[in-house]
C-alpha cells in the first residue's frame, strides 16, 4: 500500500456499526438454540481444568478447539465475510488456532490449563469468566438489542478473550504458541471497535495487556528472587 501513513484506522472500516451489530442479531437468530450448549460447554472448561488427569485436559482442548472452529466457519466465513473481504482470512486464522489447539492439546497432550492459583491463574480465570458471562450482556448494556449477544464459542471476540484467560493460567511453550492468534485477533477487533466508538474495545485490549504484562511481571519477579 503506497502512502500508508496517510491512512487512519477509520479508512479500513468498510461497514457501519449498525451493520456490524446487526450481523450478530441475525447470526443468533439463525443458530438458535446453539447458544445454550455453547454456554454449557464454556462453563465446563474451567471445571475440566480443575480435574486431575490428562484425559480431562485433552477433552478441554477438544472443546476449546471446537470453540474456535465454529466462529471460523459459522461467523467469520459465512457472515462477517459478506461485509469485510478480510473475513475469509480471519476465518483461516481461527481455523488454524482450532487445529493447533486440537493437535497440541487434544492429540499431543502438551497443553496444561490451570490450576487457577497465583496472580496469573486467578486473573486468567477472571478474564475467562468475564468473556463467558459478561460479554453476552454487552449488547443489551450498550443499548443494542439483547438478541445481538456475543457468546463464547460462537462469536470471535469473547472466544479470543476467554481463550487468553485460559492460556494465562497455563504453563509452557504450547500456551505461548496458542496465545499468538488470539492476541492478534484482540488487536484487530480492538482497533475496529475503537473506530466504531464502542467502549467494549476496552475488553480485548485489556486482555492483550494482561497476557503480555502478567507473564513478564512473573518472569521479572522470579528473576529478582533468584538473584
Amino acid at each position: 500500500m503506497s502512502e500508508w501513513w496517510t491512512y487512519s484506522l477509520a479508512d479500513f472500516l468498510m461497514f457501519s456499526p449498525r451493520t456490524y451489530w446487526r450481523l450478530f442479531e441475525l447470526y443468533n437468530r439463525d443458530i438458535w438454540p446453539a447458544q445454550l450448549p455453547a454456554l454449557a460447554a464454556g462453563a465446563a472448561l474451567p471445571l475440566l481444568a480443575r480435574r486431575r488427569g490428562a484425559a480431562a485436559q485433552r477433552f478441554l482442548a477438544l472443546l476449546l478447539a471446537a470453540a474456535w472452529a465454529w466462529p471460523a466457519w459459522g461467523f467469520l466465513f459465512a457472515r462477517y465475510d459478506t461485509i469485510n473481504w478480510a473475513g475469509r482470512y480471519f476465518a483461516l486464522g481461527f481455523a488454524v488456532e482450532a487445529l493447533l489447539i486440537a493437535v497440541l492439546g487434544a492429540a499431543a497432550g502438551r497443553l496444561r490449563i490451570g490450576p487457577f492459583d497465583g496472580a496469573a491463574g486467578r486473573t486468567g480465570l477472571a478474564l475467562f469468566l468475564a468473556a463467558l458471562l459478561f460479554y453476552p450482556l454487552l449488547a443489551g448494556i450498550s443499548g443494542r438489542v439483547w438478541a445481538g449477544a456475543e457468546i463464547f464459542g460462537l462469536a470471535p471476540d469473547p472466544t479470543a478473550i476467554g481463550t487468553l484467560g485460559l492460556l494465562l493460567a497455563a504453563r509452557g511453550h504450547s500456551a505461548r504458541v496458542l496465545s499468538v492468534i488470539p492476541l492478534v485477533w484482540c488487536l484487530v477487533t480492538g482497533a475496529a471497535l475503537w473506530t466504531m466508538n464502542a467502549w467494549q474495545t476496552l475488553l480485548p485490549l485489556a486482555a492483550v495487556l494482561l497476557i503480555v504484562v502478567l507473564p513478564a511481571a512473573r518472569h521479572c519477579y522470579k528473576k529478582n528472587i533468584t538473584m
Binding site: 461497514f15 451493520t19 457472515r79 459478506t82 469485510n84 473481504w85
Partner: protein
Amino acid sequence: MSVVSRRAALRTLAAGGVAAAWPMAALAAPLARPIPSTGEMIPAIGLGSWITFNVGDDPPARAACAEVMRAFFAGGGRMIDSSPMYGSSQSVIGEGLARIGRAGDVFATDKVWVSGAGRGPAQIERSRELWGVDRFDLMQVHNLLSWEGHLATLFEMKAAGRLRHVGITTSEGRRHDEIERVMRSHPIDFVQITYNVLDREVERRILPLAQERGIAVIVNRPFREGALLREIGARALPAFAAEIGAASWAQFVLKFILAHPAVTCAIPATTRVDHVRENLAAAAGPLPSAALRRRMADHVQAL
C-alpha cells in the same frame, strides 16, 4: 420549478424542520453536465456506495438500499458508483436495480481493484454479474492499483464495445503526482478524486488539468464520509446560503463542489431516502459564483 418557487419550498421545509420528509415535489430535474470526451450528459449528483450499501445479507437493510436507489432515480439521478472493495455493495446494487426495474437506466460505474493485470478481466466480469448489467458505463482503476496493466485492459474493452468509459480514482489527496501523470499520458474519460469545502488540494493542479485535457471529474467523499456534516451540522447556516438556495449544510457543501467548472458530478453516499432527495435538490437550483465560493470556504474554515 423556478428558483423563486424552489426557495419557497425550501423555506417551508426549513420552517417546519422537516428535512426528514424532503418531498419529491421540491425537486426539479438536477443539473446535468457533459462528459467532455463524448458530450453525453450526466446528472451532476450521483450515488456512492462505500459503507452505506455494504449491509451484507440483511434482507431489510438490502430493501432499504433499494428504496434509496428508487428515490435516486425518481429524482433524476443516474450514476451509481461502487467497487469490489466495498464488501456486499455490488450485490446490493444489483439486487436493488432488479427490484426497482432500473438496470437499464443506471450509469453503472465501478472499479477494478486487484493486484496484477491478469486478474482484472475476471474481477470485472464478476462485478458485471453482481450488478446485473450488460456492460459498465464507466470502469475505473481503483486507487491506481496495478494501473498500467488494468488501463490497457480497460482501453481494450472500450475499443471492443464492452465498456463505454475509462477512468482512474484516488481519494483523500493520495498519489496526486501519479494521477497527474496518467491524466497527461493516457486518454482517460474520467478521474475520480476527493474534493470538498475543506479538502481543496485538487484545485491547484488536478482540476485545471482535467479541464485542459477534457477529462470528466467525479468527486468522492464530499462530506468526508459524514464527518464534515457531523462537525458543522449543529452550527447555523450563514445567511448567504439562502442566495444559492442551500437549505442545509449538505446542500451548501454540494453546491460548493458542483460550482467548480471542472467538476462533472459528485457522488455522496447515504442510507436515507430523505438525504438522497436533499442531495439531488442541491443540483437543481442556483450555484455560487467564484466569489461566493471563496466566501463559503472561508466561512467553513473559520467554524
